[in-house]
Symmetry: C2
Subunit: 139 residues, 2 copies
C-alpha cells in the first residue's frame, strides 16, 4: 500500500499552477486532458519528491469550490521557511500565519486549500519582517 | 522541499482509527496529546511508506466537520483492490464506487473524506461481487 496523491479541485487552472508551481515551488509532472469528461488533471510534486503528489482537477464547466472543515491542510517541509514565505509574498499571496517562530507558516491556495509550511530541521532564528507580522484571516 | 502530510479533522478518534487502520490498512506512527490546546494529533501512513502521512486532528471540544468541494480525495495504491474493498466492506464501510474495472474504488471516512484506491500495476480481471455492484452515493 502506498500513498499516491491528494486531489484538489481548482477554479482557474493557470492561476492555480502559478500558485502551486511559481510561488509555492512544486513542479508539474504530467497532465491529462479528458475532453469526453470535460476535465483536465495536472499532477504536481515537490522537486525530488515525485512519489507524493498533488492532483489538480480542473473541470471545464464552472462550479463553486467551497471549503469544508473535515479537510485540514497539506503540509510540506521547506529548506528555508523565510525564503519560501518571501517568494509567496512577492507573488501576492497572503501569509495567513507568518513564521514568527522560524518554524511554521500557513497560506491558502486560490481555492482556499490551506497549506502548512514547516522548516526542515531546527527552527530558524527569529527574523524580520516575520517576527512582528500579525496573523491574517484563518488557515 | 518535501511532502509531509495531509491533515483531516475527525469527530470520533477511535472510530476514525478503526476506519483508517483496521479497515483501510494504514498504521499509526505517533500520537501527540496537547491538553493546553485541547486536541490530539495522530499520524498515520501506509505500511512501508512512512514518509507520506495522514495527520488526524481530534479536537476535544466537539465541532461539526462538513465537507467542501475544493478538497477532492486522498489516493492510495493497493496490492489487491478486491482484498482491500472486501476488508472495508467486512468492516461495514460502503464501497461508494466499487472496483468493477479491477482498478479503481472510492470509499469515505466516517467524516466524509473521500478516499480513492487504485490497483497497483495492471487492473485485475473482473470478478464478482464487484463486477455487478452498483455505485452508492457520491465520492
Amino acid at each position: 500500500m502506498k500513498y499516491l496523491h491528494t486531489m484538489v479541485r481548482v477554479t482557474d487552472l493557470e492561476e492555480s499552477l502559478d500558485f502551486y508551481c511559481n510561488k509555492l515551488g512544486l513542479v508539474e509532472l504530467r497532465r491529462s486532458e479528458v475532453p469526453q469528461g470535460r476535465f483536465t488533471l495536472v499532477f504536481l510534486a515537490a522537486p525530488g519528491d515525485e512519489d507524493a503528489q498533488v492532483e489538480l482537477t480542473y473541470n471545464w464547466d464552472p462550479e463553486e469550490y467551497s471549503g469544508g472543515r473535515n479537510f485540514g491542510h497539506l503540509a510540506y517541509a521547506v529548506d528555508n521557511i523565510y525564503a519560501s514565505c518571501q517568494q509567496l509574498m512577492d507573488g501576492g499571496v497572503t501569509i495567513n500565519r507568518p513564521p514568527r517562530d522560524g518554524r511554521m507558516a500557513f497560506v491558502r491556495s486560490p481555492d482556499g486549500i490551506s497549506i502548512e509550511l514547516l522548516q526542515h530541521g531546527d527552527a530558524l532564528p527569529p527574523a524580520e519582517p516575520w517576527a512582528s507580522m500579525e496573523n491574517s484571516g484563518s488557515w
